[in-house]
Symmetry: C2
Subunit: 81 residues, 2 copies
């Protein structure tokens, strides 16, 4: 089994009201915060028996088609060692 | 400015219905998925002028008190290089 860590974030140009709200709350609590952006995090475990290329291709497609909205979001992933 | 990447996930023992729903959807679409867990991801940028220990302490407290619910969640963070 191979496990991947996926991060989905709003593109830089897209306003992030959730992040702004967290940022404002943290500042009101006197934390030394400059900016906060909020995104999604997913751990995806793939079936055994896939080679490296198949795994990459499957996850790439899952991220693009299901886990993110490419119009406003971007994603990155890494594999568990 | 120092930027941190924070991941907040449900503890292993806590059911993750959102992850299960994503997992089921991906399987129905014939993706070779074994398991999915869904969490939160945040990018937190701290103010300038903090030393390493202060940054660590501030972020640790922010994660524990604000960004996660320690009863059911755990968090990890790393700093931007």
């Amino acid at each position: 089994m191979s496990k991947a860590f996926v991060q989905v974030t709003l593109k830089r140009s897209i306003l992030d009201p959730q992040g702004s709200a967290v940022e404002k709350a943290l500042r009101q609590m006197d934390y030394p915060v400059e900016a906060v952006r909020v995104g999604k995090y997913m751990e995806v475990t793939l079936r055994d028996g896939l080679d490296r290329a198949e795994r990459e291709a499957a996850l790439e497609e899952i991220c693009r088609r299901v886990l993110s909205n490419p119009v406003i979001e971007e994603y990155t992933f890494s594999w568990e060692e």
